[in-house]
């Protein structure tokens, strides 16, 4: 028996902890019951908590995300699983036109304690529309929080925190990391902050900012850069809305050279916002232009081409060297 848990197991454990702790928590989604979810994140939970708390819904993303909003009004705390990233699009109107506006529509009095879990991203050789990275749609939508964990511990801690939050949280799960490795996690997850980035590797010459599955790429790139004699700091953004401004500014001020990595398309992406904040606020400290290593502005390619489309270690290393040599 290998020690520790995978990220997908950590998600399942956190969900079990949330259901255990809060009788008002309820899981909704497609095939999450007997089947335990297509990624097995909810394995055993229906057996443990019953079909009224771990609910298999009809195939209707708009319907069950909308219903989750209604459930919040009567005091439940729904956690919704979207089966695959691109399946969230039918629910976008419910999220943009209602979830994000509800507290504002009550002059701040009542929010929606709603979590939308979205397994996202490429690198799993999946069919079309099973590899999208739609986080920017939500980080550009007022009223939502958007977070992405990058390892089993952060997955558990951030999910517990998201469930405790009084506002809708879009919780992006990098499915490529679901079974990447195991790590030790405590018996109970303590809620983390939902709006703080984390330095995951110290370094002073260049900073690589990323989230989700790109943390793995960033860390490998940092290791290669170390061989080349450059010390790269890796920062896990974790929160995509709001961005952790303090950590961004401190990183840029201390390091001066910044590369931002994400698999989502480049245009109007998270990296664009990071670059904009840095040039607005700490331009004097920047020793090189903020460079972006991202997905292309096209539909995520069919999987034979996905390794070329996804930001790779060598692309990140090249960008970091360009920043270093600027």
């Amino acid at each position: 028996m290998p020690a520790g848990v995978t990220m997908v197991e950590a998600v399942g454990r956190a969900l079990g902890q949330i259901l255990e702790d809060d009788p008002r928590a309820i899981l909704l989604g497609e095939d999450i019951g007997v089947n335990g979810g297509v990624f097995r994140a909810t394995v055993g939970l229906q057996e443990r908590f019953g079909p009224d708390r771990v609910v298999d819904t009809p195939l209707s993303e708009a319907g069950f995300v909308g219903a989750a909003i209604g459930m919040c009004l009567v005091g439940l705390r729904p956690i919704v699983e979207i089966q695959f990233d691109a399946f969230v699009y039918p629910a976008f109107e419910q999220l943009a036109s209602h979830a994000g506006r509800f507290r504002w529509r009550t002059n701040g009095a009542y929010g929606l304690p709603l979590v939308i879990r979205i397994p996202y991203g490429g690198g799993t050789k999946a069919p079309e529309l099973h590899s999208d990275s739609p986080e920017t749609l939500f980080s550009h939508t007022p009223g939502l929080r958007v977070v992405a964990p990058s390892d089993p511990l952060s997955a558990g801690e951030m999910l517990v925190a998201a469930a405790a939050c009084g506002d809708p949280v879009i919780y992006m799960e990098p499915k490529r990391l679901y079974r990447r490795g195991r790590s030790e996690v405590p018996d109970r997850f303590q809620p983390s902050t939902l709006d703080r980035a984390q330095v995951v590797r110290p370094g002073d010459d260049v900073a690589i900012l990323a989230h989700g599955a790109m943390i793995e790429v960033a860390l490998e790139a940092a290791a290669e850069l170390a061989v080349l004699g450059a010390s790269a700091r890796v920062v896990d953004l974790r929160s995509l809305y709001p961005l952790d401004r303090e950590t961004l500014l401190r990183t840029a001020s201390e390091v001066g050279r910044v590369v931002v990595v994400h698999e989502a398309p480049r245009h109007s992406g998270v990296a664009a916002e990071v670059a904009a904040i840095l040039q607005e606020e700490v331009a004097d400290h920047l020793l090189a232009p903020v460079l972006r290593v991202t997905g292309m502005d096209m539909p995520f390619p069919l999987f034979q081409l996905e390794d070329q489309a996804l930001p790779s270690v060598s692309r990140v290393v090249r960008a970091a060297r360009a920043a270093l040599e600027y």
């Binding site: 209707s60 504002w104 009223g143």
Partner: protein, 367 residues
């Protein structure tokens, strides 16, 4: 108590072909109509009329205020009072309402001061009513997206062991939207105690029903979801009330959702910015004059000896005064600052909406 208005009647009023198969009280022969109203009882019958009178007075006042420039574009509901009053009075206060813009003032029937919905159309944040105190969701502007909310509230209540039901309003056009389908299907699958009340007024702005759907009766759509679908005369407050009451009872005893189609006709424009003569014969609405729900209910109440014309007229006068006074109070609400409003988006306001960010010169007129 309510029956189907038969197509075979010799003396169908204009427009009555649309009412085929619709439950009615006011369409009953006079002796049976009197009996039905007596069975309903004077307090409830008058309560329904008074509720319609307040809704009418609100609507008329809102149109005046729009013409005066006190409020902005306003979606009038002239002619829909029977559907709204009939349904609200069929629910308990603990039950949830999910109104659209067309039912923007039903909160008033739940005790909300009328200036609140008027302020919404004045573009003022004080126009957002207290959702939890009134068990009424904010007015839904996108079409059909409120249906799933009602399903969730109803289903959630049942999961919590409460016996609340939820009612969502919509129009004929909303039944073409995906959210209507998803909500009906989900509600039926989980047995949610919810009522979908569709006001079929034949028009979605300029789009007539025949371009909206190929079914002749919207109630028939219920068949596809495995739930009951009923059709009721939407100009008959008593029939609307009884039909919704029955659906509420069904929901409350655990027998699941109902689709109620209230048949009517949009007597006015879509809203104050709409000009129906561009797309429909102005005569078409006038042909429905004798169906107008307040006059029709008043005649029946007087005929049944349940009320005098004077007291009904007084209800209208009182309601008009109430709404005029509410309109006069609209100037009294100080406008919050944009910073205040920005602090109402999240429970814990992120830096992106914090005071420091909002003081940036690029965000301020006076920066």
């Amino acid at each position: 108590m309510i029956r189907e208005l038969g197509a075979a009647s010799d003396d169908l009023a204009p427009g009555a072909e649309l009412m085929q198969g619709a439950a009615t009280v006011l369409g009953l022969p006079s002796d049976r109509r009197r009996e039905a109203l007596e069975e309903l009882g004077r307090p409830l019958a008058l309560g329904l009329f008074a509720a319609m009178a307040r809704l009418r007075a609100f609507d008329e006042r809102a149109v005046i205020l729009q013409r005066q420039g006190v409020i902005g574009t306003y979606p009038t509901y002239f002619g829909e009072e029977a559907i709204q009053a009939g349904s609200v009075l069929a629910l308990e206060d603990r039950d949830w309402l999910f109104p659209t813009y067309r039912q923007n003032s039903v909160v008033v029937l739940r005790g909300c001061p009328p200036e609140v919905p008027l302020l919404l159309w004045r573009g003022h944040p004080a126009g957002w009513h207290d959702v939890q105190a009134l068990h009424t969701a904010p007015v839904c502007v996108p079409v059909a997206t409120n249906y799933p909310h009602a399903v969730g509230a109803a289903w959630g209540s049942r999961l919590l062991g409460e016996d609340r039901v939820a009612l969502a309003y919509g129009g004929d056009g909303s039944t073409s939207e995906g959210d209507f389908h998803e909500a009906c299907n989900l509600a039926a699958v989980v047995g949610a105690p919810v009522i979908f009340l569709v006001s079929n007024n034949q028009w979605a702005i300029s789009t007539p029903l025949r371009l909206q759907t190929r079914v002749e009766r919207i109630a028939d759509k219920a068949v596809a979801y495995g739930m009951p679908g009923v059709r009721v005369d939407g100009f008959d407050v008593f029939a609307c009330h009884l039909a919704v009451r029955e659906a509420v009872a069904r929901a409350r005893r655990g027998d699941g959702p109902t689709l109620v189609e209230a048949v009517g006709y949009r007597l006015g424009p879509h809203g104050t910015a709409d000009e129906p003569s561009l797309y429909r014969d102005p005569e078409s609405a006038r042909r429905w004059d004798e169906w107008e729900p307040l006059a029709r209910a008043a005649a029946a109440l007087v005929d049944a000896g349940l009320a005098s014309a004077e007291e009904l007229s007084q209800l209208g006068t009182d309601a008009a005064a109430e709404m005029r006074e509410a309109g006069d109070r609209l100037q009294d609400f100080p406008l919050p600052s944009l910073e205040d409003v920005a602090s109402r988006v999240y429970q814990e306001t992120p830096w992106t909406l914090g005071a420091e960010r909002l003081r940036e010169p690029t965000y301020r007129e006076d920066g």
